[in-house]
Symmetry: C2
Subunit: 226 residues, 2 copies
């Protein structure tokens, strides 16, 4: 079964207060996207790679490729208006019977173990959506007011959202809807149930400058421990 | 108006895989609780301090006090069966017209700015519950299945949950109920509305060994920047 990692790198880096989009910022000396791509290669040597970049960031791609010691094969695809459209474009580079991992470019700390577990579950159940328990109390805003929600049943959703191609590809032939915030919601709108899998607290999404520091700390601690 | 920080340090440290409870582990060379206490003293010089510790951790208290270069006044109180009972015990050390900050001992990174903002809002509105936007997609588990929830309106709740004493003290005279997961839910059960305030992403709750590394990184980056 073929394996495709569709790595989606959107955003403009404004929240980082930085001209360079965050997925290209150096993390432990290499661009964030280098680490993200490497994580998928580490999980499966035969992983096929698709990198979806906004039009105005295509010029940065070379920097990521050059960070690898050896030549690496990556299909580079231009993103779209929304996450849905970007993934839709990325999926055009996918063919045959396969398992597809759709992953945030700014989650460089995903482990090989999580990718491998997602693969096994996607083959068996059709999908694997990494989810973790919520550490803090939660409330829902309602107008000027708010109310508590039971966090026992709440889960924080991560990527790679992983699917068998016979489920994901037809789901992405649907027209865009506003509630398509991730791939799970697209697949559900297509009428398929999605299945959660235990994610990883360390699989953080880099959003702020503080997150860069945190990511570097986690990365270094892993290297220290072998 | 008097100011009381009621710092609640429960837990047994099992999740840390460590015999020493996490609130006493060294963070940048000093116990976690040292940093937590210092944050409140830094926010207001006249802050009165109440530390609530489980019975079997009272012997560690001296270690925290000795970390301060000068003698520091802290009322040390024994905790109870649940968070509610611990806070209830802590409030016995509070008197007069005051603003009360109830804070997790394992949130050592709270800033003076957040404490000061909570104070002002609690005086004006009666309460200040720090809340931050949720970065990831969220789902709710329902039996074997799950469904997406709109994260736009979800907030992650932190501490210090801050209240005027005329609201908090009578609320804690109520009998315990199972849904009392924090002070906000206690005050709401008493019939008072609670008011959110913008929290801080860096104000993390230390739960895992990785969180210790993250906390140390954030702490060091603050020192580096003055």
């Amino acid at each position: 079964m073929d394996k495709y990692a569709v790595i989606v790198a959107g955003g403009k880096g404004q929240r980082m207060g930085n001209a360079i989009p965050k997925q290209f910022l150096p993390l432990a000396g290499k661009p964030v996207l280098y680490h993200t791509i490497k994580a998928f290669k580490d999980a499966f040597e035969d992983m096929k790679l698709v990198l979806v970049l906004p039009q105005d960031q295509l010029s940065y791609a070379q920097m990521v490729l050059q960070a690898f010691p050896e030549r690496i094969d990556i299909a580079i695809v231009t993103g779209g208006e929304t996450r849905f459209h970007s993934v839709q474009n990325g999926l055009k580079a996918v063919s045959g019977n396969s398992v597809i991992f759709v992953h945030d470019g700014v989650r460089p700390l995903v482990s090989a173990d999580l990718v491998q577990r997602c693969f096994v579950q996607a083959i068996n159940k059709g999908s694997a959506i990494p989810a973790i328990a919520v550490a803090d109390s939660m409330r829902i805003i309602e107008g000027d007011s708010s109310r508590p929600v039971d966090r026992q049943n709440m889960r924080s959703i991560q990527t790679p959202q992983t699917f068998r191609s016979d489920i994901l590809l037809p789901a992405f032939l649907q027209g865009y809807m506003e509630h398509f915030t991730d791939e799970a919601t697209v697949v559900e709108a297509y009428g398929e149930e999605v299945y959660l899998i235990e994610g990883e607290r360390g699989n953080i999404k880099i959003t702020t400058p503080e997150d860069m520091l945190i990511a570097e700390t986690i990365l270094n601690s892993r290297t220290d421990n072998g």
